[in-house]
Symmetry: C2
DNA sequence: TCAAAAGTGTTGCCGATACACCCATGG
DNA sequence: CCATGGGTGTATCGGCAACACTTTTGA
C-alpha cells in the first residue's frame, strides 16, 4: 500500500443575491476561484485554504471569505466535512475539507474586489467544478432552500429594515417560485420574528409599504444546542 | 505567539435502546471511554481516534464503533466538525474532531464486549464529560429526536420485521412521551415506507399484531444530494 | 367471559391556500 | 381618476389530535 498523508482545509460556499444576467430576476450567485495547478488545472473551485493552526474553523471560513470577495459574511454555518479517499491534489495526499456556507450582501464593492482568479456565477448554472465541489454546491443550495422555509436566514440578504415585498422577493428568488403576498405576510407576522417600524418606503406609484426589522433577540437559525456557536 | 499544531480525529456518539435501570422503560444509552491520561484524566469521553490516512471519514467512525462495542452500526451519519481552539490535549496541540452519530442494536454480545474502559450510560443522565463532549452528545440527541419525526431511522433499532406497537415503543422512548396508537398507525401507514407482511406476532393475551417491514427501496434518511454517501 | 391490546371510524380544530376586496399613493 | 402594489377579510381544504368503538386473542 502506498504512503499517504492527510491535509486539512476549510472551504466556503458563498451566496449572494443579484439579478440574473438574462432574465433580470433576482438569483443566487456564487464566487469561484480558478485553479492554477494540477489536478483540475483551469477548473473553477470553491474558495478555501488550509486551516491556520491558531484559528477556529468558522474564523478560517470568515477570513477566507473576506480575502476572496472583500465582503463580510452576514450568516455563516458549517455545511459538512468531506473526506473521501478520492479527494486531494495527488493520490498520495488526501484532503479533508470542512465546508461552510455563507450569505453576503453584495453592496457596492463586490465587482471591484473580484480579480481575474475570482469570478461570480449563477449558482444554478455552474460549469463542472474541480474535485467534488459540484456536489458540495448542490448540497449547500439544498440546505439553503430548506432553511428558508423555517428560519429567518433571509435577513442576511437584506438591510436593517425592509418591506414585506422585499423580503418576499428574497424568498421567491431562493425558492424559485412566486408566493402569495397575502399569505406570505401572515406567515411572517405570525412567526414572531418581525417587528413593525413606524417608517414607510415611499416613491412607488402606489401605497407606501411599511418597513419591518427583525427581532434581534431571536437567533437567525435554530441549531439546537449549537445555536450561536 | 506559541507554536501550535492541529490533529485530526474522528469520534462517534453511539446510541442503543435498552431498559432504564430504575424505571425499566426503554431509554437511550451511550457507550463512553474512560480517559487514562491528562488532560481530563479519569473523565469519560466519546470513543474515537485519529483518522487513518487510507480510510474515509465514515469508515473510520464505523471501525471505531466496532472496536469499542463489538457492534455493527445500523445507521451512521455525520454530526458536526468541532475545531475550537480550546480543544486538544495541550494548549499547543488543538484537535479537530469530525463527529459521527450512530444507531446500533444491542443484541446479545454487547455487555461482554465492553471492557473496564468502556461503559454504557443512560444518554440523558451523563456525568460531566471530557473536553466539549457533553455538548456534542446533547447536540446528537437533539438531531436524533428531530430526525425521528420525519424520517425512518428508528428502523435501525428494530429487526427485519416488527409490530406497530414495537415501532411506537421506539418512538416513545426516543421522544420521551406517549403516542396515540391509532394516530401513530395512520401516520406510519400514510408515510409509504411500511410494507405489511402476512406474518403476525402471537403470544400476548390479546389479538395478534401484524408484522411490518420497511420498504428497502427508500433510504433511511433524506440528506438531499448527500443521500447514500 | 373478561382483560388487554390490535385495529377502525368519526369528529372537531387549526393552519395553509386561494382569491375577493378595499386602501393609498404617483402620475 | 386610474393603474399599481399594499394590506385585510374570508371560504375551503386537508392533516392531525382526541377519543369512541369494534375485533381477536390468551387465560
Amino acid at each position: 500500500m502506498a504512503e499517504s498523508r492527510t491535509a486539512l482545509a476549510v472551504s466556503t460556499v458563498i451566496f449572494a443575491l443579484r439579478p440574473h444576467p438574462t432574465t433580470r430576476r433576482l438569483a443566487l450567485w456564487v464566487p469561484l476561484v480558478r485553479r492554477i495547478r494540477a489536478p483540475h488545472q483551469g477548473r473553477w473551485a470553491l474558495p478555501g485554504g488550509p486551516l491556520a493552526p491558531d484559528e477556529g474553523l468558522a474564523a478560517s471560513a470568515g477570513r477566507n471569505l473576506r480575502e476572496t470577495t472583500g465582503l463580510t459574511p452576514q450568516y455563516l454555518e458549517q455545511l459538512y466535512a468531506f473526506g473521501g479517499l478520492d479527494r486531494g491534489p495527488t493520490a498520495a495526499e488526501r484532503t479533508v475539507s470542512i465546508v461552510y456556507w455563507a450569505l453576503v450582501r453584495p453592496e457596492e464593492a463586490e465587482a471591484g474586489a473580484a480579480g481575474v482568479n475570482v469570478q461570480w456565477f449563477v449558482a444554478d448554472e455552474l460549469p463542472e467544478l474541480a474535485f467534488d465541489h459540484s456536489l458540495i454546491v448542490e448540497y449547500a443550495l439544498w440546505r439553503l432552500r430548506n432553511k428558508v422555509e423555517y428560519s429567518r436566514i433571509t435577513a442576511a440578504f437584506l438591510g436593517e429594515t425592509f418591506t414585506l415585498a422585499e423580503l418576499r422577493g428574497v424568498h421567491e428568488a431562493v425558492l424559485q417560485r412566486t408566493l402569495d403576498p397575502a399569505n406570505f405576510r401572515r406567515q411572517m407576522e405570525s412567526s414572531g420574528h418581525l417587528v413593525a417600524t413606524e417608517a414607510f418606503r415611499t416613491g412607488g406609484r402606489h401605497r407606501p409599504a411599511r418597513l419591518f426589522r427583525y427581532d434581534t433577540s431571536v437567533h437567525l437559525a435554530d441549531n439546537g444546542p449549537l445555536t450561536g456557536r
